[in-house]
């Protein structure tokens, strides 16, 4: 395997220990999706930081691994950034720090790593061999950091994620704030039934579930059973089993029984135009599920579908919030709402994300007169 890497760490000449495959990957970004073997089993993987510290290693072995990993990260420089807007060395070193945090049971060890402590044993949530594998995968295969540690920090939550599930994006955090704003002035919506369509890891469902509290209800749907098992893990960890119900199926299909009664619909549907996917950062196009990213030719297939569905599924005065690719998609959707779905919605608005991109479409189902 990988024990070659431990012998040398020469800051001046990294090309000798980056495997040739790494170099070819840099020049020919591949974008086939890779499915891990866990695809066939529905038991969700436990995030690293929650695993029992059953492994151990000496401080010096851990230090050796850490030095190797740091060298490897530094050797990347800006190559990923230049090739596909991937992470640079400083970001990778930060991820390495987080990997160590999630792995070591006793964080005070980190400040004590020195030659005198070399033989001292530390307890780990993953073995040193696993650590070599993980970091190798990170750098050589561009496997997303979040899949390696099995979690993502999002809003004030830590969510389990794994291959087959989209890693929740920081932009999407804002949807929870928008929901909080609306329900703070609207008891009727706060106590209603909400839907998170295409829930993935369950991020939005958990986020809005915590806002709604005990009087609201959330139904979270997804086509992918892996996603549902991960969402189930996440909602249970946050004690929301009584508030969030999971249903498998496509968009509104599993919600036919509540048609016309839904207080709010939130969704982060796939919105990337199919042709753009192969040009994305390798972490995304090689490893994250296409099902969660590919929105068809214009990227808007599902957004249109959601608008159509919202018109019949929302109760009068009900709210929808959809995340999009940006200004063009939002404007296009507004035109669509004003033409094909004329009269169905009111108070439709576009909300920008923190980068100033017009990312969210928000609107209300017209009250019946």
């Amino acid at each position: 395997m990988k024990l070659n890497f431990t012998r040398v760490c020469c800051p001046s000449n990294f090309s000798t220990f980056i495997k040739p495959s790494l170099c070819t990957n840099l020049h020919r970004p591949l974008c086939s999706s890779s499915l891990s073997s866990s695809h066939t089993s529905l038991k969700p993987q436990i995030p690293l930081f929650l695993r029992p510290p059953m492994h151990s290693a000496t401080v010096s072995d851990l230090q050796k691994w850490h030095d190797w990993a740091k060298c490897l990260a530094s050797s990347v420089g800006t190559t990923f950034l230049d090739s596909d807007n991937g992470p640079d060395s400083s970001l990778l070193c930060r991820e390495l720090k987080w990997l160590v945090e999630d792995t070591i049971e006793d964080h005070s060890v980190l400040s004590q790593m020195s030659i005198e402590n070399g033989k001292r044993s530390v307890r780990l949530r993953a073995g040193v061999e696993d650590l070599y594998n993980m970091w190798k995968q990170r750098i050589e295969e561009r496997k997303p950091f979040q899949y390696i540690v099995g979690c993502e920090h999002w809003r004030d939550l830590v969510l389990s994620v794994q291959e087959g599930v989209l890693i929740p994006r920081p932009e999407t955090e804002l949807i929870v704030d928008l929901v909080a704003d609306v329900v703070s002035e609207n008891e009727d919506l706060r106590e209603g039934l909400w839907a998170d369509l295409g829930t993935g890891s369950g991020a939005l469902a958990v986020g809005i579930g915590r806002i709604l509290g005990s009087r609201g209800m959330v139904i979270a749907t997804d086509l992918n059973p892996i996603a549902l098992s991960v969402a189930a893990f996440n909602l249970q960890r946050y004690g929301l089993q009584d508030i969030i119900e999971l249903r498998q199926g496509s968009w509104f299909e599993p919600l036919k029984d509540v048609e016309g009664n839904i207080a709010g619909i939130v969704s982060n549907p796939p919105y990337i135009p199919s042709d753009n996917i192969s040009g994305l950062q390798a972490e995304v196009c090689r490893h994250e599920p296409k099902l969660a990213l590919d929105g068809g030719l214009t990227g808007m297939d599902y957004l249109f579908h959601l608008c159509n569905g919202a018109a019949s599924m929302l109760k009068p005065g009900g709210l929808f919030i959809f995340e999009t690719n940006g200004e063009q998609q939002c404007k296009c959707l507004i035109k669509y709402l004003e033409s094909d779905l004329r009269g169905s919605f009111c108070n439709v608005d576009i909300v920008s994300d923190f980068a100033g991109i017009q990312r969210f479409l928000i609107g209300f189902r017209q009250q019946q007169t």
């Binding site: 991937g86 970001l91 979040q146 932009e171 940006g326």
Partner: protein, 170 residues
């Protein structure tokens, strides 16, 4: 001012060169740097793995900076301490109405507004704790203790006193 209103007055530095973002991107640059445009004050947070948490921390730090740096002028002739200031004063203050409620400390979110109003008074009397104490119905010692109990407050007062050639409070 709510967090949202305050955010609207800020520019968030981290995000300038992000490209399309959203589903396109998986780069966890969770560090947040906020520049408050009206005052030019900058606050940042890098410790957390979640951008949301860093944003909250940066905003909290910005509020502290605003309280420490933004001054309102005070009419000493007709001075009456505002409610937010009364709340941070100890009960023995002679200007503190009995219905003010318990004294709040630095961990209370409303403390900053009180601290800001206190600094307005201290600046108006050019750093004299004895003078400020009179306006607040406290002995010089009691006001001194209040100021020394909070690091940011102490530093701001001492910076002023040093600039006026006075000895820092200890």
């Amino acid at each position: 001012m709510t967090d949202q209103e305050l955010m609207r007055q800020c520019e968030m530095d981290t995000f300038k060169a992000s490209g399309p973002g959203g589903q396109h991107r998986n780069k966890r640059e969770s560090a947040v740097r906020l520049k408050h445009l009206p005052t030019g004050l900058i606050a940042q947070a890098v410790e957390d793995r979640s951008q949301h948490m860093n944003r909250a921390s940066a905003l909290a730090r910005l509020r502290t900076l605003l309280a420490l740096n933004v001054r309102s002028s005070v009419d000493l002739e007709a001075y009456s301490p505002p409610p937010e200031l009364l709340r941070i004063l100890p009960p023995k203050s002679t200007v503190r109405p009995s219905d003010t409620g318990p004294q709040i400390g630095p961990n209370n979110p409303k403390y900053l507004l009180g601290m800001q109003a206190l600094l307005d008074v201290v600046f108006a009397v050019e750093g004299s704790v004895a003078e400020a104490a009179k306006f607040l119905g406290l002995s010089t010692g009691a006001l001194s203790r209040l100021i020394l109990a909070n690091d940011s407050l102490r530093m701001a007062v001492n910076e002023l006193r040093t600039s006026k050639g006075m000895k820092p409070l200890k």
